[in-house]
């Protein structure tokens, strides 16, 4: 789902640099990334709390902008890292929705989505695959879930994931492998049941 937009003439580090002198310049960074960060947050916790989490993510980013490593031209991984920290405080909401999806076959994350009902055509019942994945995601420890979803949903590379989570790349790789194994075996079990 990575957006393959061309590299803008003014990159994120320029925007952040400018915002140190003129704070209002930071609004540009919001406009650039809110759609993508918001989508990731919503997929994890649902639209109900997404607005708050997105808000806090950008507030934290704004306040920490002086510490941004300006050799990074794209602020996307940095923003995902901040969002991940904020999401952690909503772990219970996240797991509760996954368990409900497993139990009922309806995904609260999509059902709550009054705001994007048009796009989903009122379709709230999740696919059998989603339903099979839900208990695996709910059962992962938070560190594994972060690595897995930053890889699968945010399209970060393993090195980026390691960096934004502040863990060694080897740790990120082993977490991802363990999580993938669990996902694979759940999917295989489902195939066997239906095949």
């Amino acid at each position: 789902m990575r957006q393959t937009s061309e590299r803008p003439a003014v990159d994120d580090s320029d925007v952040i640099d400018r915002s140190l002198r003129d704070p209002s310049a930071f609004a540009e960074l919001f406009e650039r990334h809110v759609g993508e960060i918001g989508r990731y947050v919503t997929r994890r916790v649902g639209p109900g709390v997404a607005e708050d989490i997105v808000g806090e993510t950008f507030l934290v980013a704004f306040r920490r902008r002086a510490a941004y490593d300006r050799s990074r031209t794209n602020a996307r991984p940095w923003l995902y890292g901040i969002a991940t920290n904020v999401i952690r405080r909503h772990r219970r909401d996240e797991v509760r929705a996954l368990k409900a999806l497993q139990r009922t076959g309806a995904d609260p994350v999509l059902a709550d989505a009054g705001s994007f009902a048009d796009q989903v055509d009122g379709r709230v019942s999740a696919s059998a695959t989603s339903r099979a994945l839900a208990p695996v995601l709910a059962g992962l420890d938070a560190g594994q879930r972060d690595v897995l979803l930053l890889t699968a949903w945010a399209d970060l590379t393993l090195d980026e994931v390691a960096e934004v989570l502040g863990i060694p790349p080897g740790t990120a790789r082993s977490r991802l492998n363990r999580a993938r194994t669990k996902i694979r075996s759940a999917l295989e079990k489902k195939e066997n049941r239906h095949g």
Partner: protein, 333 residues
């Protein structure tokens, strides 16, 4: 089977063009320097109701180093507290106070973001409703302890004997840039004239336009920094007194604080609000020792938060810092 590709389809219906207007509003408000709602540092309001209404004092204040002894001399501090080469003068004015503070100041290490600021303080209590002026009840006192992580992302305190952590976030201190941290503080000028110019520049650009001569806002900004940054670099601390001494409206006082200690004070009476606010200072170490705010003339003011009637003699804040120190772990004293 590529399980990651399968997983990436899950919830892929969620669109990527939602604009999150409330999040945008919150960011724009922050950029404009308005306080946000998360538990955070004490936010002083630009309006002079600052510190009076409950919202502004909800987060507890902090500050300064070392434990004060009692029975300190009223004027020049005891020779024992100064190294032999330091010459101190009798404290007879804000300037002489600032001179002694500068003479005693040494280089201070920069705390790490994950260290903690431990504060133990004595305050009065108030029975006022949180929505009104928080007039303090004279004669009352309580001792509070807390740990704030240096990066302000976590706070801790004891509840029923158990150390409880709360997540926080750094927020802007009135009159100072958003990227305020120890690194920034270490980089501020320690020459009082330059520091005063920097404070005025911050006030004029970051936040609120200066009102009149701007001295009320300079005083507020200095106090806000001291109460939020307990263990200030000592050279900066001295320069802040020097900057205040260079304003026309700041006076020197000798008072007994809530904990019964004799302390120095730099105070300012605001003619508009009828409030006298004092920064209390340890007469031996010249570190911030607390604050006191008293109504000296009846007033009635209308601000963003409503109308506030204040009666002469009302106590608005009385805080004595008993201990403030950088520690490695929450719960450490």
């Amino acid at each position: 089977m590529d399980e990651l590709a399968t997983l990436s389809e899950m919830r892929s219906e969620v669109p990527d063009d939602v604009r999150y207007p409330a999040a945008r509003q919150a960011l724009l408000a922050e950029i404009a320097g308005r306080p946000s709602k998360a538990r955070s540092r004490k936010v002083r309001r630009p309006v002079l109701l600052s510190g009076l209404l409950a919202g502004a004092v909800a987060a507890s204040a902090v500050v300064a180093a070392t434990t004060l002894g009692s029975g300190n001399s009223r004027h020049a501090p005891p020779a024992a507290s100064a190294s032999p080469s330091v010459r101190l003068v009798a404290v007879t004015s804000p300037m002489t106070l600032a001179f002694n503070a500068a003479a005693l100041a040494k280089g201070s290490p920069t705390p790490q973001p994950t260290q903690w600021v431990y504060t133990r303080m004595m305050t009065t209590t108030s029975h006022d409703k949180p929505s009104g002026a928080q007039v303090q009840d004279p004669g009352t006192h309580q001792v509070k302890e807390k740990w704030d992580r240096v990066d302000f992302l976590k706070f801790a305190s004891f509840e029923h004997g158990k150390l409880v952590f709360v997540n926080g976030m750094p927020s802007q201190i009135g009159g100072w840039p958003a990227e305020l941290d120890y690194k920034y503080l270490q980089a501020l000028p320690t020459d009082p004239d330059k520091l005063l110019a920097a404070i005025r520049h911050n006030l004029a650009t970051v936040n609120t336009p200066l009102e009149g001569d701007g001295e009320a806002q300079v005083f507020e900004a200095v106090l806000a920094l001291m109460e939020n940054y307990p263990v200030l670099p000592s050279k900066l601390n001295a320069a802040l007194y020097g900057a205040l001494a260079r304003t026309k409206s700041v006076r020197l006082g000798h008072v007994t604080d809530l904990a019964g200690r004799k302390v120095l004070s730099l105070y300012r009476t605001d003619a508009k609000s009828g409030i006298r606010t004092a920064i209390l200072i340890n007469p031996s170490t010249y570190t911030y020792a607390g604050q006191r705010s008293v109504v000296v003339a009846d007033s009635r003011r209308t601000g963003n938060d409503g109308t506030l009637t204040l009666h002469k003699g009302a106590l608005l804040a009385d805080e004595a810092i008993l201990t403030a120190a950088i520690v490695n772990n929450a719960g450490e004293r």
